[in-house]
Symmetry: C2
Subunit: 417 residues, 2 copies
C-alpha cells in the first residue's frame, strides 16, 4: 500500500528482555496503530541499557514516521528513558505544573502526601510536549525529529493503553491515508493443514491483490485476508464475496469475525433466546466461568456455577449419583452429563454446561489416558456431550478444554449438533 505511515515500537526493560515479564504493551500499540492504517515494521525489546537505548531510539526515530517507546519512566533508579531522550532531543529538565497537580491530586484521593520521589515525575525535558497521564504519575511525552514523531509512554499496561487511546491514536489518525481493508474470520474445530486443504481451491482463486494468513491458536484459527491496495468500494465488495464463499466451505467451523470470541458469540446466542446458563467445572476449574463473564453484560444470561474438584463435591453439590462415579469414573461422558444436568436444575437455568477431564501431566491412577476430556451441555430437551484427547501442557490443555466446551455449546445453540 503506497504512502502508509510507517511505525516502529520499542519496549524498554531488562525484565522484558530476560523474559521475566511478558511485554503486552507492544502488542496493544501494534494493534491500535495497525487499525488506523499504520504499517508496523518492527517491534523491538531491549534491556535497561543506556547504549542499546540510545542506539535504538536514534535508529527508529530516523527511520519511522512514528516511534513509540514504553517503559523506563518509573520513579526508581533503574529507569532512565528520560535521560536518554534528553540526550537525543536536547533541552533541559523543567517542572510541568499540570503534571505536578495531577500527581498531587491522585495521591490526595488515596489519602497520601506528595513525596519528593513522586514530585520528580513532574520534571520533563523542555524539548517535549507533555501528554497527561490520568492513571499514573509518569506523564507521556512527544518529541519531534524532523517530520517524525517519537512518543515516550510509561510501561504500566493500563497507563500505556489509556495514553495510546487518548493521545497517540488521535494524532496518528490525522496522518493516515485510510484504513486498510481487512477481514478476520474465526474458525474452531479443524486443524490448520486440513483447513488449508479444505479451502485450497478457494485460496487459488483469490485475486493477487489480496493476501491470506493463517493464525492458529488455542481459541481456534483466525484467517486474515488483507488487501495490498487501498480499500475502494469495489475492492470492498470483491472481498465480501470472497468471504461469503469461504464461509460456505466451513459452515460448522466458522463462528465469528473480528473482535468476536467464542464467549461473545455464545453470549449473543443465549441473549437472543432469552436463556440463562450455569457452569459445572471440574478440570477447567473456573476458566469456563471466567471466559463467559469476560463479556460485558454476561450477567444477563450467566447465573453462576460450581467448581467441583473432588468426587464428594460432585455428589453433594451437583447430585451426581455415586454409582455413576463408581461405574464410569469422574472423567466420563456420563459424569459430564450428570454434572451439566445437575447444575442446570440446582441453579434453575435453561442450560447447564460441564467439563471433566485429566489435563495432566499426571494421571488419576485409573486407566483413563492423560488428556482425556469430556464436555456436556444440558437443556430441558436433553444432554449433548463431546470428547477430546488433549496432548499439550496442563495450561494449554485447560484453555483448549474451555474452548472445546464453549464451541460445543455454540453448536448446540445454533442447532448443528
Amino acid at each position: 500500500m503506497v504512502g502508509r505511515v510507517t511505525a516502529g515500537i520499542i519496549a524498554v526493560g531488562t525484565e522484558l528482555a530476560i523474559g521475566q515479564v511478558l511485554d503486552t504493551n507492544s502488542r496493544y500499540i501494534a494493534q491500535r496503530l495497525s487499525a488506523v492504517g499504520c504499517d508496523v515494521r518492527e517491534v523491538l525489546v531491549i534491556p535497561d541499557d543506556r547504549v542499546a537505548m540510545l542506539r535504538a531510539f536514534a535508529d527508529f526515530s530516523s527511520k519511522y514516521r512514528i516511534t513509540t517507546i514504553t517503559g523506563g519512566l518509573g520513579p526508581t533508579a533503574d529507569d532512565f528513558t528520560k535521560e536518554i531522550l534528553l540526550q537525543l532531543f536536547g533541552g533541559k529538565l523543567v517542572e510541568d505544573p499540570a503534571t505536578l497537580q495531577l500527581v498531587t491530586e491522585r495521591l490526595a484521593k488515596r489519602g497520601l502526601a506528595l513525596t519528593p520521589r513522586n514530585a520528580e515525575q513532574a520534571m520533563v525535558p523542555s524539548s517535549c510536549e507533555v501528554l497527561p497521564n490520568k492513571l499514573g504519575t509518569a506523564p507521556g511525552m512527544l518529541f519531534c525529529q524532523g517530520a517524525n514523531w517519537v512518543f515516550s509512554l510509561p510501561g504500566v499496561p493500563f497507563e500505556t493503553e489509556a495514553l495510546v487511546d487518548e493521545q497517540v491514536i488521535p494524532r496518528v489518525s490525522r496522518l493516515s491515508t485510510g484504513k486498510p481493508l481487512q477481514r478476520v474470520l474465526k474458525i474452531y474445530g479443524i486443524a490448520e493443514s486440513y483447513l488449508a486443504d479444505r479451502i485450497a481451491s478457494w485460496e487459488q482463486r483469490l485475486a493477487e491483490h489480496f493476501s491470506l494468513a493463517y493464525l492458529p491458536g488455542p481459541e481456534g484459527i483466525r484467517l486474515r485476508i488483507d488487501s495490498k491496495e487501498p480499500g475502494t468500494p469495489a475492492l470492498q465488495e470483491e472481498l465480501t464475496s470472497y468471504v461469503e464463499e469461504l464461509k460456505d466451505l466451513i459452515p460448522n467451523e466458522f463462528y465469528g469475525e473480528g473482535d468476536e470470541t467464542l464467549p461473545s458469540v455464545v453470549g449473543s446466542l443465549l441473549k437472543r433466546k432469552s436463556a440463562t446458563i450455569a457452569t459445572a467445572e471440574s478440570c477447567t476449574a473456573g476458566r469456563l466461568a471466567e471466559a463467559i463473564t469476560s463479556v460485558p453484560g454476561a450477567s444477563d444470561y450467566y447465573l453462576g456455577g460450581l467448581v467441583t474438584y473432588g468426587d464428594r463435591i460432585k455428589r453433594e453439590q451437583l447430585g451426581v449419583k455415586p454409582d455413576l462415579l463408581a461405574r464410569f469414573g469422574a472423567v466420563s461422558e456420563e459424569v459430564a452429563g450428570a454434572m451439566a444436568q445437575g447444575v442446570m436444575e440446582r441453579l434453575k437455568a435453561e442450560y447447564g454446561i460441564a467439563t471433566t477431564g485429566l489435563l495432566g501431566p499426571g494421571g488419576d491412577g485409573s486407566k483413563t489416558p492423560v488428556g482425556t476430556f469430556y464436555w456436556a451441555v444440558a437443556s430441558r430437551v436433553g444432554v449433548t456431550t463431546g470428547r477430546a484427547l488433549l496432548s499439550s501442557t496442563r495450561a494449554v490443555n485447560a484453555v483448549r478444554a474451555t474452548y472445546d466446551a464453549l464451541n460445543g455449546l455454540r453448536r448446540v445453540l445454533i442447532g448443528c449438533l
Copy 2:
C-alpha cells in the same frame, strides 16, 4: 559480566507485528536463555516480509553467538522462513526421513493419513541439523554461521517450548560460563514508590557490584537483585545477607521468591496445616478457583467452589440471608463474609474465601462506587475481611481482586491479620 554468551531473539509473523496475536514465545526463550547465563541483547518482532526477514536473520546471526527464530514454518503459503534460511545459509531442500516418519506416526495416532501438504514439512535445507519436533509437523533446525548458532523453531507455543527445552538449552548450556547470580523477591500490598522509600537506605548501602530492579505488576512487585560479576561463593553469601536485611524491612509484604506465586505460597501454607479450602466468587467469577488450581497438586487442599453471580444464587446456593443483601447490598463486607462462611460450611472445608465487588466499567445502580471490592476469609475461628478501591480497567481490576483476596488469605494463614 565478561564473556557471557550473547543472544538475540527474532519472532516472525505479521500477526505478531500488527498485534493480532501476542508473542509469548520470545518471552519463554528469553527466560530460558537468561537462566543458563546468556545475555539477551534484543528481541525483535517482524512481519512475514522477505526483505525484513533476510535483513534481520543476517544481522542477528553475524552479531550474536545465539540467534533464535520462531515462526514462519507452517504448512501454508504465508510461511517462508525456510526459504529465507536457504537463501542465507545455502544448500538445497532435501527430505528428512526421520521427520517424515514422525509426522506420519503423529497423524496415524489421530486416525489421519499423510497429505502432500504434511509431507512437505519433512523437506529441510541440507545446510541444517534437524531438531526433531515431537509435538508437531514442522521440525526445528540449527544452522551455523562461523561460530554463531541460529536456531529456527516452529511458532506454535507448546512446540517452541518443547524444542527450546530439549534441543536449544542443552546445547547452549555447554557454552555458558556459569549461571548469573540473581534473587527475585516477591512483594504484595505496597505501591512501588512507597516501597522505594521504605527500602531507600538499604538500596543506598547495596554494593556497586549488585543492581536492583523494580518490576511492578498485578501480582505485586518483583524486586530483582543481579550481580554484575560472575557468582562466587563469597558474592553469594553477600547477596544472601542483603536479601535477609531486605526481608526484615517488608515482613508483611514479602511473600516469596523466584517461581513462587501467591497461589503456590497459599497452597504450601494450607498443605502444612492439612487444611482444605473452598471458594465463593462473585466479581472474580472463577479467577480465584483458576489461580488456586494453577498449582500442581492443588486437589490436596482445594475442594471446589461456587461462582454466584446473581443475588438469587447467593441466597440459594450459599445461604446468604436476604436481609443482609437488602440492608448492605451484594457488594459489602457483610455479604462477603456470609459468602465465605456459606461456602466453608456447605463444602465442609476448613477455610472459605469469598469475593464481591463492582469491577466496572458500569455501576450496579446503587451508591456503591465503581471499583469497590471486598474479600473475606472464613474459618472455624471467625471471619476476616478486606476492602479495596480498584481504579483500573475491568480486566485488570479482576486480576487485582483475585490477588488481593489471595494475599488476604495468606496473611490470615500466617497469622498476621
